[in-house]
């Protein structure tokens, strides 16, 4: 595609690697060449790349597809997902999943971004409900600024929970910030 057609969120293929366009800055000396300064995000590594193009340059657009899937189970260093319409299974590595793994329990619906048949990113639901496995029974010497205590959830992740939360409670968690929202049930 012509460089003029690239805009925010266009997906480009550079050196066989997919990038997403984060920002486009257009600068042009009145009589001179148009200069396009792109900030790109490497869709494999997440690294940011700044790159400059000129009018007349051409780039290769690539497409990213989104697939609704369900988390099944962990196997060695992989998380296994199943496509909700084709029932095909797709593994993603622990490194790819990163901290998001702490909010995945069996059956969690997710959206997986695929490029050329390979999963490259995962979107979790905004909130998930998880059971508290272990937390201190009560808080000693609680002050106004220390209302939260540590709670270990069924996925193994530890987050801050309010003092009244007990073992076995089910809580709603914000997956982007990793913070407690509310209690939704108890044992």
């Amino acid at each position: 595609m012509n460089i003029e057609e690239v805009s925010k969120n266009t997906k480009l293929l550079i050196d066989n690697t997919p990038f997403s366009v984060e920002t486009v800055e257009f600068v042009k000396p009145g009589k001179g060449r148009a200069i396009y300064k792109f900030r790109l995000r490497n869709l494999f590594s997440g690294n940011v790349l700044d790159i400059t193009y000129h009018s007349g340059d051409k780039v290769e657009e690539t497409s990213i597809t989104l697939h609704e899937m369900q988390y099944l189970f962990q196997e060695n260093d992989n998380y296994i997902f199943m496509d909700s319409s084709t029932f095909e299974q797709t593994p993603m590595t622990k490194t790819q999943i990163g901290e998001k793994g702490g909010f995945l329990k069996e059956g969690t619906p997710v959206v997986i971004m695929m490029w050329e048949g390979r999963p490259i990113d995962i979107q979790l639901p905004k909130t998930v409900e998880l059971k508290v496995l272990e937390t201190e029974a009560s808080l000693k010497g609680a002050t106004i600024t220390a209302q939260m205590k540590e709670g270990k959830l069924e996925t193994g992740v530890k987050i801050g929970v309010p003092a009244f939360i007990k073992d076995g409670d089910v809580i709603k968690v914000d997956t982007r910030s990793g913070t407690y929202i509310e209690r939704v049930g108890s044992k």
């Binding site: 003029e4 800055e25 257009f26 600068v27 042009k28 000396p29 009145g30 009589k31 001179g32 060449r33 148009a34 200069i35 400059t52 000129h54 009018s55 007349g56």
Partner: protein, 308 residues
Amino acid sequence: MALEESSRLQNIKDKLEYRAKIMDGIRAFFNSEGFLEIDTPLRVPAVAPEQFIHPYTSEGWFLSTSPELQMKRLLSAGYQRIFQVCHCFRRDEHGRHHNPEFTMLEWYRAGADYRRIISDTENLVLSLAAKQGYGNVLPYQGKSIDLSLPWPRLNVRQVYLEWAGWDPFIDFDGQRFDDDLVDKIIPRFPDDRPVVILDYPRECAALARLKPGGTPVAERAEVFIAGLEIANGYSELTDPLEQEKRFRSEMAEMLKNGLPTVWPEKFIEAVKTLPECTGIALGVDRLVMLLTDSPRIDDVIAFPSDRL
């Protein structure tokens, strides 16, 4: 009317009121200097062939990228001092400081050279700032810009040698010249003073004449304020053969890139009687940005192209 549009238009009403006052100020300035206001067509059969300025086509004609060719035909017919405020169209130019349809102020003086047109520019901006209630100091984006005259003049060769480490008069490289202007030269300009850079390599001359005496230096000057390119002026090229040669070489490059071009025959004919003269084009939207302390061109245009 969508709520978002209505609130945006309400929010920029102050700026559009200032904009109208600035237009009045521009006309008052040129009337007092004895200029005639001109109104040339926006849809034309040919525009100046310039490799990096791309016109929109319109039923086989073009939307004007600049009123220059028609204004010079008036000069050739004996008009001495003319000015015009009009819309210009340049395809694919969209960004923080660009809208593909923008407002240009262009004026010409017969019997003078680029030094005179730069001093007109200084006087004009100073008079508009005064009308806005500023003295010599213009506040812009947290900076104070000292407008007192004369503005510093910087020589193109010197700034490239000093800040970019090469001499564009030896082995000219157009892409490097443009990249360095953006990345190395403009960021070094003082942020509290306007700057005039002048005397360009002949390859950047476009429609400017070369300094007398067979030098490769074009009498071209550009005005920058707060890093914004505000105006571009020339001692105009009046040699019809040289003009024809330059246009032919631009057109050859454009044909290679598949860009539409039409030979501006009537203009070339008029250059034969073009008197010694100087002219400058000033971006009105950017000037309004400066005088209303606005960071984006969209802030001073009621309907930028992506909101139509």
